[in-house]
Symmetry: C2
Subunit: 271 residues, 2 copies
């Protein structure tokens, strides 16, 4: 159970008429708190604002969020910020001005899995294919049933993630992380203009690619092409970077670009 | 504000860790209560169970739901039944067995709009196109952002509904209702195997078509074909049947099949 501030007040519940609950009408972001400080904050906040804009939600003020994270008083934790369209009458229409509900929650810390970061993880290819909706592509909305259904496809704890493809056999992301692949000196991450979630770690890695001596490219990534990559890794704000060690019959070792990026985001987080 | 039973107890709130709120991980149905009796109940309950099955949620027992609707004590009202995957840790994965959250809410009655039923309504064609996800097609899940975004496309109160098309220009439904069209003696409603919501009124109308002297058919319905229909109407459990009076430059009058079906569902509801 998380400790949560709802519109700034400690609360265990939200109204049964909140549109976050009624329709998944809202957005969220997950972040790591270390020594009381939210990591990768500038990108997290920018993406949250982008997501709010996609749904025509007024974004929370940055100072309010930072104040509430401080107020929650966690040294090392996982935080979740959500913004919903608030309460309202039944029905998809909503009145202006929107009075959003703001939820800031802290969850127990998840230790960094140093073994997964070093040795990599086994992943599978999910059977569910992502639907294409340009109006929501990239947005971390509260409509996450595709992720839930895909994550329910396997139970083997030896498989740490599932790759999500679109209907044209392009790899888009994994159920709870973004994907990168290295081809020669190019670092490729899938185009998310049709589906998928723009994670904050992905954005940071794209901005750090040049520092790691590679060109960061957003492009379509057919599954068959991924199988031919020199390196592949998953990333999100909780796990950091996990090399992909195996998918189907293909195996990889952690490569130099992956390793360099791991060190770069550690330095960036140590800030 | 609705009066709500959460797992059988009157409550204004649900837990901030409920997966209905976190991910839209649940389903719902909306129904009309008349003289204390839920209308079209057999179909409503069957569809709710189908939806639960699509998400691997244990469905609530029929007797429990009927008891709770009685307990809420409304004579004439709109009710909303929702089932979510309940609480849990952060993350898309969930543990078995699922302990769902059950919400039964009553909202103030919405009077039948007899003028709309007689004269028909003006509708528009929405710009948003529905995404295709066969795993969720037909299911009235809590992931309803497409409906919210589509409903926000217009504010003119003279336009009562918006038609939702897929990427191939096929009409699927409207933002909060299903669509039927009449061609000769055939009553056609769009195929919902790729996207859309199977409404309980739609299911009942399909089952009553033969009684109205027409053949009920589920088929693809290109927008251009709809424009050539003899009659067109919208339906859901709150509005009943609204003839479509106008869409873009096309105009219709309420036709005999629409009128016959209106009378049939009234009789069925008077049951």
């Amino acid at each position: 159970m998380a400790f949560t501030l709802v519109d700034g007040r400690p609360s265990d519940g939200v109204s049964t008429s909140d549109r976050g609950l009624l329709y998944g009408d809202g957005v969220f972001r997950t972040l790591r708190i270390r020594a009381g400080r939210p990591l990768n904050w500038a990108i997290q906040y920018r993406l949250l604002c982008d997501d709010c804009a996609a749904l025509a939600l007024p974004p929370p003020a940055e100072a309010v969020l930072l104040g509430e994270i401080r107020q929650l008083g966690a040294a090392d934790a996982i935080a979740r910020i959500a913004v919903t369209r608030g309460g309202g009458q039944r029905g998809y229409g909503y009145a202006d001005p929107v009075v959003p509900t703001r939820l800031v929650a802290v969850y127990p810390d998840v230790p960094v899995d140093t073994e997964a970061q070093r040795e990599g993880v086994r992943v599978r290819r999910c059977a569910l294919t992502l639907s294409e909706q340009r109006r929501l592509a990239g947005v971390k909305s509260l409509n996450r049933l595709e992720n839930v259904l895909a994550r329910a496809e396997w139970r083997d704890p030896g498989i740490r993630e599932g790759l999500l493809l679109d209907g044209a056999d392009r790899v888009i992301e994994a159920t709870a992380s973004n994907l990168f692949a290295v081809f020669g000196g190019r670092l490729v991450t899938p185009d998310l203009s049709r589906c998928g979630v723009r994670g904050a770690q992905r954005e940071r890695i794209l901005s750090l690619a040049a520092v790691a001596g590679v060109q960061g490219v957003v492009a379509d990534l057919p599954f068959s092409k991924l199988m031919g990559a020199d390196e592949a890794f998953l990333c999100n704000s909780v796990i950091g970077i996990w090399p992909v060690a195996a998918c189907e019959t293909r195996q990889w070792r952690r490569g130099p670009v992956t390793h360099a990026l791991q060190r770069l985001i550690e330095q960036h987080d140590a800030g």
